[in-house]
């Protein structure tokens, strides 16, 4: 569906935000994982027609995004990482206006808008000004506007940051519902979001795609290479010196350490890999995560 070929972008001042990105995004939920500053938002904005790459091409469903922005915008839903709203304008009025901009007219508009307000549980707050919303309400408003016009490409940039667990759950549920028939790109630095929802994932770092594929496959590839041990705090440094440590987690007062190794390190037990382990190992592989921490 969505094809990115050789996308590069260098900001004035020399920062290489995107370097030769190739990506195939099929229908369904696609997770874009990466640490802060990896270039996720730049990539999202580029796909959302808000920024131009220096090189490369992007097509969606046969649309050349860089040439025919309007065609993509007609089928795009976009939830930016941060957004605001016109002051002194209610959620209802705001959404109605955005619906109009998305080409929804006539009696349908009111219906669509009301439907989305109900769906995102904003019905009771519809007359409140969006800039007075709480974080969760605002994100829900964000997804409501992104869903206007039933987009076939939905880009959501860091949507769950700052949401409480219940809000996050509700939000992901809405996304999951949409993801059945749409291309959804979910950019995040929270691995759990991706693990729960996405059939496909790409890991980004320093403007590159470090790894892409199905999360289950990636996890499977790690089987037999991941080892864990509960240690005392004093021991951590010593183990770090000897092994590739992916993560250290505090668990009930002591520290669980997870390390990568082709053979079983002494004193460590095999562990079941998770997407987070894949993510960390990928970063370490590309020297993007300091082993010593």
């Amino acid at each position: 569906m969505l094809n990115l070929t050789g996308i590069s972008k260098t900001y004035p001042g020399g920062t290489q935000a995107l370097q030769d990105i190739h990506l195939d995004v099929p229908r369904g939920m696609f997770g874009l994982l990466g640490p802060n500053g990896a270039g996720k938002s730049t990539l999202m904005r580029t796909v959302a027609t808000l920024q131009q790459p220096d090189r490369g091409s992007i097509t969606f469903n046969g649309i050349d995004i860089l040439q025919d922005k309007t065609a993509l915008r007609r089928t795009l839903g976009y939830l930016p990482q941060e957004f605001g709203a016109y002051p002194r304008t209610s959620a209802l009025a705001m959404l109605r206006h955005l619906a109009a901009l998305k080409g929804i007219h006539g009696s349908q508009r009111q219906q669509v808008v009301e439907n989305l307000l109900v769906k995102t549980n904003l019905w009771d707050a519809r007359n409140k000004s969006v800039d007075k919303f709480s974080g969760g309400m605002k994100q829900r408003f964000g997804i409501a506007q992104a869903l206007l016009g039933n987009p076939t490409l939905l880009i959501v940039d860091e949507p769950t940051a700052g949401l409480d667990p219940a809000e996050r759950r509700r939000f992901l549920n809405v996304l999951a519902e949409v993801g059945e028939e749409t291309v959804v790109i979910l950019s995040t630095h929270i691995v759990d979001d991706v693990e729960e929802l996405c059939a496909q994932v790409a890991i980004m770092g320093r403007g590159r795609i470090l790894k892409a594929g199905e999360p289950l496959q990636m996890i499977r590839e790690m089987n037999g290479k991941l080892w864990a041990r509960v240690v005392k705090r004093e021991e951590v440094a010593e183990i770090r010196a000897r092994h590739t440590v992916l993560s250290t987690r505090l668990k009930a007062g002591s520290t669980e350490i997870r390390a990568l190794s082709d053979t079983q390190p002494e004193g460590m037990q095999p562990a079941a890999p998770e997407l987070e382990d894949v993510y960390f190992s990928t970063l370490i592989e590309h020297n993007l995560k300091d082993n010593l921490e």
Binding site: T70, R74, E82, H97, L98, L101, G103, I104, Q108, N127
Partner: protein, 1188 residues
């Protein structure tokens, strides 16, 4: 303390790094530089005042005060509200800094760049004064004192005041818009105070004026040029600044006390907003969840729906902001001020005809519109980004043109709504005055076509500027720069309509409608309209949609947007722009000749350089004129032909002479008998004829001509307003050849003359210069027989001087044959219009008023005034010369009125629409022009110093005497008071050195004052006997013409020996008095009261620059005692008034009154010249109850 310094330094660093600061710095330095080098005119001062002295600097500095407010508002509001905008508030506000320290630090941090900008302006000005191309005569030797004065008395306190007050508003409201509104309130207060301040009541106004402009004006009101150059105003100006500093300090303290470091939604002071919706929330039924598959549509109709949705939001943005209502209030206040200030001659109120109200749609509205244009494009264009919704909006599938078009349309709607309010206000004003002929169609035309479109263009310009600017402050600065630069273009010599963005004001005349100005205005609307479309297309291409990391990317995006539709629109607009531009160019530069202002002056300079030597060459002059003029008003064409007998009235033979022709005329034929054309220059209208045999004294020669005055198409600037469809008024110089060199074309301003390589203009010829005694105007040294046949359209009446011999119709046209009954001066008026005629008779004189049927209001009053004036002047001076008097209404292109032999062309904007009730239904203009029939036509003063003694001065004196004769004293006293103020005012505008009356070169206020004082002392009868003697001796005399000396001699002969010195002081020297009542008391005596008045009196002689030297006083002054204690005594009859002879120094006067005295006054009716009349009166201490 350390925290304070830290906050302040941080703020200064922040501000100094912003491009806005740099831009403002450069712009202020540049504006000052341009203003001081005379490229841009800011403030209006005498060109004798040195540009590097305090007064000239003050003028510029205070005028720029208003512009200075923008950067200050920007600095202080960003300083205090930035944290909310950038969401850094939560970081900073949790630090353990006290709110006061924080706010004070930010204030000081914002003050510094503001002061730097003030200094940059001063520096720009200072550099400007050293530019070598400046007129060195206007530069005084360098002195640091005035510069220091300007900095410490004006720039420093003003910056402090503005920063402190705006900072307080910004801190307390946390609102840009309200701070901008506070700046506007300053502006309005300044305008209103300046509008309503009148001499007498203005001290408090001057202290209250936030810009202090008024303080300077009041303080320096009667300063002479010498004083303006030498002195610094140390009175009202510093007081005003001190007062405002205190106000500012109080505001700052309040702000510091109330300022809180918190993130409360509510600012300490803010408009409360009704929270709507909360109540209704629960009422509507919650729709059931359902699956909807909406159909998206992007057809043109759907695009329009998108546009409408955006437009609604943009409009509500403007309409929900409190600022627009403040602008609305400003508009109405401004309009009312203009309405009230709309008065005619002698401050007579004007009837509120719709044609009188239309100009306010320009002068009253441009200001509010520019405020809208400055603020709202910034607000609207940067609105999405400011609110953070830009990414969502920009990724939506709307066409690229939508945003810029919506913003522009919203502004146009707002502008037109403001215009509609202005129309409503104008109509309300008319209705309040009981006037009901509203002419709504005319209003709509003027409001929405002749002005509204222009205002929309100004807004479109600002929209595009904002679309290109990185942020709104930068955009506002640029917009401000453009708004200042646009009107300066013409001043800098770019006055061609094709390069001067804008629609010039179209004058509407009740007689002639929009007439000939409609076509150029419509062409310019099309031309600049197409230009605006092109601009908007540029804005559409460059409108930021998304994130650009470089200009190249933005251009790439622009190229992508430049699709077929946009290309087509741009192409059409470009074709329209070039096509209409070409058509305008064809009209202005091919059908007509266009010269830049410089070239126009150059042409005059060339004329003088090439032919100036002929100026004093003897020339024959008219003995008789027999001519015909065919007027084709609808075509704006006029055919003039005829013959004149020219006679040599000199004492020597004439071998050659110059004939001058208005260069705009088309020459069909011209010939002089027995002479050959020796030299000709068509472009300059210069023809030199050489006689085959010299023309002997007394001999005559015949000149014939046939010329056409034609207006084809339209011109780029200064259209011909004389030959128009309804209301032709030309005089013979416009449409016939005139013997003699045309010295009216001389450049009179010496600075200009130097620029064009001409020697300084000769001052008016010295009194008694024998070469000028025999010449009246150029080409005139005699009276002439006169006969004319006029023809015009069938529905018009054509009028010229002379007795109407015959009137007939022929070939669908009307003909009129006029013939002068006796020789007249060849100052011929020719009028034609669709006139209504009112007729009356005074003795043997036919009185006729030719007026437009729309203006019947004052015809009876004018007729009565004319009769009274004829009667009074005939009795006091000499019989009226003509058997007719014709007053002719002209379109308002003519200002005031003119006089010709027996005819008075009079503007529709003046006497015909005055509400004369305040002047007892007397029309001042009629009296004035009628007095010219004696003083100006019967007596024709020689063209030299003192000429106005025999002309305007006598006319004004005669007018005053008529009021004194027939009407209550309040009128004459009001007139005299005005004259005195006018004279004293004029001394600070004096371009050359002031000369005593007998030598004066221009009309002035002093002449009538002096004559009035003289008759007051020696008696009216004596003075008028002298005038009758003078008229007996000099009426109709043209070779030699009489001079002011002849008049003074006539006065001296009648006045008697004791008044000779008085005449010398009044007319031959510049003398001022200083009278003062030191004490006044009264005691009861038999049959009344005895009032003792202690006075001090002094006399000064002033030189031409106003430098005064005291000298002994011995003269007569009114001493008066009034029962009332009012300040203005114009209409009060005194208990006692008599002339007392006063001498220098202190003296005690004793007078008796029958009734209880209230006030003792010296010269209460302002007959003598005195600068400080405030201390001329004193309330008399209550007399003791018991007698002696």
């Amino acid at each position: 303390m350390r925290a304070l310094l830290e906050v302040m330094q941080f703020e200064i660093r922040y501000q100094l790094r912003s491009p806005f600061f740099l831009g403002a710095l450069l712009m202020f330095a540049l504006i000052h530089f341009l203003s001081f080098t005379g490229v841009v005119n800011i403030g209006d001062i005498s060109n004798q005042v040195a540009i590097n002295r305090a007064y000239a600097m003050l003028n510029t500095e205070l005028a720029l005060f208003i512009f200075g407010m923008l950067p200050i508002v920007a600095f202080v509001t960003t300083a205090i509200t930035r944290d909310f905008e950038h969401a850094t508030a939560s970081l900073i506000y949790v630090t353990p800094i006290s709110p006061r320290t924080f706010a004070l630090g930010r204030f000081l941090g914002a003050l510094s760049p503001a002061l730097l900008i003030g200094l940059a302006g001063l520096l720009g000005a200072m550099i400007g004064t050293f530019m070598p191309w400046l007129d060195q005569e206007r530069i005084a030797p360098f002195s640091l004192l005035p510069w220091a004065y300007i900095f410490f008395v004006v720039i420093l306190p003003s910056t402090l005041v503005l920063c402190a007050i705006f900072f307080s508003v910004a801190a307390l409201t946390r609102s840009f818009a309200l701070t901008y509104a506070a700046a506007m309130a300053f502006f309005v207060a300044d305008v209103l105070l300046n509008l309503y301040a009148k001499p007498g009541n203005d001290t408090w106004f001057a202290l209250a004026d936030p810009s202090a402009r008024l303080a300077v004006a009041v303080e320096t009101r009667y300063w002479t040029v010498a004083e303006l150059n030498a002195n610094l105003p140390w009175g009202l100006l510093p007081q005003n600044r001190l007062l405002w500093l205190m106000v500012a300090l109080a505001a700052l303290l309040l702000a510091l006390l109330r300022f809180r470091l918190d993130l409360a939604e509510k600012a300490p002071f803010r408009f409360k907003r009704r929270s709507r919706g909360a109540a209704t929330t629960q009422q509507t039924r919650r729709p059931a969840k359902q699956k909807i598959t909406p159909v998206q549509s992007f057809s043109p109709r759907a695009s329009f729906a998108q546009f409408v949705s955006q437009l609604k939001l943009d409009l509500s943005c403007v309409l929900k902001s409190p600022l627009i209502y403040i602008i609305l209030a400003l508009e109405i206040i401004n309009l009312i001020g203009e309405f009230q200030g709309n008065v005619g001659l002698l401050n007579t109120p004007l009837y509120p005809l719709t044609s009188q109200m239309l100009p306010f749609l320009r002068v009253g509205m441009l200001g509010p519109i520019l405020l809208v244009g400055l603020w709202y494009p910034a607000e609207l264009i940067h609105r999405e980004r400011a609110s953070g919704i830009d990414e969502i909006i920009n990724a939506s599938p709307f066409p690229d043109w939508l945003m810029i078009l919506s913003k522009t349309t919203a502004l146009c709607v707002v502008v037109n709504a403001l215009m509609l309010v202005a129309v409503g206000a104008s109509m309300a004003w008319q209705a309040a005055a009981g006037y009901t002929n509203f002419e709504p169609g005319l209003y709509l035309q003027s409001a929405f076509i002749y002005n509204g479109i222009y205002y929309c263009m100004l807004c479109a310009l600002a929209v595009v500027i904002q679309a290109i600017s990185p942020n709104k402050w930068m955009g506002m600065l640029l917009t401000l720069g453009v708004y200042i630069a646009l009107p300066s273009l013409a001043l800098m010599g770019f006055d061609h309509a094709l390069i001067n963005f804008g629609i010039p004001e179209a004058v509407y005349s009740d007689m002639n409608g929009f007439g000939h100005v409609a076509k150029p205005v419509f062409s310019l609307i099309a031309y600049w309209g197409a230009f605006c479309v092109l601009l908007l297309i540029a804005g559409l291409l460059l409108y930021p949609r998304g994130n650009y990391s470089s200009a190249r990317e933005r251009l790439r995006d622009a190229r992508a947007r430049f699709g077929a539709g946009v290309r087509g629109a741009a192409g059409l607009a470009a074709i329209a722009f070039i096509g209409v531009g070409g058509w305008i160019f064809y009209n202005t530069n091919i059908l007509n000749e266009y010269l830049t202002p410089y070239k126009r002056l150059q042409r005059k300079a060339d004329y003088e350089k090439a032919y100036g030597r002929h100026e004093d060459a003897p020339s024959p002059s008219y003995d008789s004129i027999d001519m015909a003029i065919d007027i084709f008003p609808e075509e704006r064409r006029l055919e003039s032909r005829g013959s004149a007998i020219l006679g040599n009235h000199k004492k020597a033979p004439i071998s050659e002479f110059v004939v001058s022709v208005n260069p705009a005329l088309r020459m069909n034929q011209m010939a002089v008998e027995n002479a050959t054309l020796a030299q000709s220059d068509k472009a300059q209208g210069f023809y030199l004829y050489r006689f085959n045999a010299a023309l002997a004294p007394g001999a005559t020669v015949k000149m014939t001509w046939n010329v056409t005055c034609r207006n084809e198409g339209f011109v780029a600037a200064d259209p011909d307003n004389k030959v128009v469809a309804n209301g032709v008024y030309v005089n013979n110089i416009d449409v016939t050849p005139i013997p003699g060199y045309d010295n009216n074309r001389r450049i009179t301003d010496n600075a200009q003359r130097r620029k064009y390589g001409l020697p300084p203009a000769p001052r008016t010829a010295a009194l008694g210069d024998p070469a000028r005694l025999y010449k009246l105007a150029f080409g005139v040294d005699s009276r002439t027989d006169f006969e004319i046949v006029l023809s015009t359209s069938a529905d018009q009446i054509a009028v010229a001087p002379g007795v109407l011999q015959k009137e007939w119709r022929q070939g669908g046209r009307r003909y009129f044959h006029y013939k002068a009954e006796a020789p007249i001066l060849p100052y011929i008026s020719i009028n034609s219009a669709r006139y209504e005629v009112a007729r009356d008779r005074w003795n043997d004189v036919e009185l006729e008023i030719y007026y437009d049927p729309k203006h019947p209001f004052n015809i009876a009053a004018m007729m009565a005034t004319a009769k009274r004036a004829l009667e009074f002047f005939s009795k006091e001076f000499a019989p009226y010369e003509y058997s007719y008097l014709r007053i002719l209404e002209c379109p308002r292109y003519l200002k005031g009125a003119r006089f010709h032999p027996g005819t008075v062309p009079y503007s529709e904007g003046a006497g015909f629409v005055n509400d004369l009730r305040e002047w007892e239904n007397v029309d001042y203009g009629v009296i004035h022009e009628l007095a010219h029939m004696w003083w100006g036509l019967r007596i024709t003063g020689a063209q030299m110093q003192g000429r106005q003694m025999l002309n305007e001065n006598m006319v004004e004196y005669a007018t005053q005497m008529l009021f004194r004769e027939y009407y209550p004293p309040v009128y004459i006293n009001r007139l005299t008071r005005g004259r005195l103020g006018g004279y004293l005012d004029s001394r600070s505008d004096e371009d050359e050195a002031e000369l005593p009356l007998m030598y004066a070169e221009e009309r002035g206020h002093k002449g009538p004052l002096a004559l009035y004082a003289l008759q007051d002392i020696i008696g009216k009868e004596k003075l008028h006997q002298a005038l009758r003697n003078f008229l007996r001796d000099y009426s109709f005399q043209t070779s030699p013409c009489p001079t002011s000396r002849d008049l003074i001699n006539a006065l001296r002969a009648e006045a008697g020996p004791e008044y000779q010195q008085l005449i010398t002081d009044l007319f031959e020297r510049i003398v001022l008095y200083d009278l003062q009542v030191d004490a006044a008391s009264a005691r009861k005596v038999d049959g009344g009261y005895e009032v003792t008045i202690e006075v001090t009196a002094r006399q000064f002689e002033a030189d031409g620059r106003g430098k005064e030297t005291e000298e002994p006083l011995d003269s007569w002054f009114d001493v008066a005692v009034f029962a009332e204690t009012r300040e203005n005594l114009d209409g009060v009859t005194p208990l006692y008034i008599a002339k007392h002879r006063l001498r220098s120094g202190k003296q005690v006067l004793t007078v008796r009154t029958s009734e209880r005295p209230g006030i003792a006054a010296l010269d209460p009716f302002h007959k003598r010249v005195e600068r400080s009349a405030e201390n001329n009166s004193r309330i008399i201490a209550a007399p003791p109850i018991t007698g002696p």
